[in-house]
Symmetry: C2
Subunit: 155 residues, 2 copies
DNA sequence: GTATAATATCCATATATTTGTATAAATAAA
DNA sequence: TTTATTTATACAAATATATGGATATTATAC
């Protein structure tokens, strides 16, 4: 159990439970819980987790940004995709057993205009492009999902 | 793009496309594609990916084992869970925005006897235990998902 | 069983990641 | 603005991971 993962898991929990408006406060909390770390590390954790500063009526608040952390999920989802093939009219992805629904749901949520729908079985997902020329765009995107590296600072 | 990830991605693809009955054959294929590696590395990759040897009517074949790689997915799913809370009768998980359905689906597929059902919104999943005493078992399990480390050799 | 082939692992090394310190850069307050 | 506060980053050290060579272990064939 890498300490980094435990720490980041706890950070996500704390952010979803408490109102955090600066790194020092959260740092104090984490230290009190036994995490040995500095502000520099917390800053890096925020970047990796996709934590953003938002201005609410109650002042500044740090929250997990869906779009940012979505990038991370994308990489995780890619792990579940085994192959992509296609014919003249549609794309077929093979996934780990039982994961087609989960992968398809993720794809659906992207609301990509090139994709008009998906159908998922147990380990197979059909992806229907809006037009033939969109096919390559979609395939490139999926291949990227498959090979993108996890936990990677976006500078 | 860590070479390891690219390589393992390609291994998954190849295994789902071709019949592979020994490591040397696959090794040759991978080397031909430009991966610089040895059998030792391939052996370790198989272990990490959850690749297993099965006896088919056509002889031995290496395939991705759903149960084994399921352990990996579990760790990936854990990333999407932000917190777990409960009252007297049910458990509530918060997830990253838009990921509740995906997480719930994963939980459903586990067919745990302690869980009689889940209901998911956008970022919230209700988990209904079969009895009150199951609650702690379920919570412990979910917490484990949340902190379990990714990519970790199971010796 | 024994021989052969295939795979896993020990050890050493190369490579990459994580982190703290110090400080620069950015943001908010005055 | 100018100052104070907060956050991000360059650099270096520590830590962890990945990998090849050699070989032990395991599985298959005989």
């Amino acid at each position: 159990m890498p300490v980094k993962l435990k720490r980041q898991t706890r950070i996500k929990e704390l952010l979803s439970t408490y109102i955090v408006s600066n790194q020092e406060d959260l740092l104090r909390l984490l230290k009190k819980e036994g995490f040995e770390m500095t502000q520099a590390t917390l800053s890096r954790d925020f970047a990796e987790l996709g934590v953003v500063r938002v201005f609410t009526d109650g002042g500044i608040r740090y929250i997990l940004n869906a779009e940012e952390s979505g990038k991370q999920i994308a990489k995780l989802i890619g792990f579940e995709i085994l192959s992509v093939q296609h014919n003249e009219s549609m794309i077929v992805m093979r996934t780990l057993a039982g994961r087609a629904q989960g992968v398809a749901h993720f794809i659906d949520r992207l609301n990509k205009e090139e994709i008009i729908g998906t159908v998922a079985g147990d380990d197979t997902v059909l992806v229907i492009p809006n037009k033939v020329v969109s096919m390559q765009i979609i395939i490139d995107f999926i291949k990227k999902l498959m090979t993108e590296s996890p936990q990677h600072r976006n500078k």
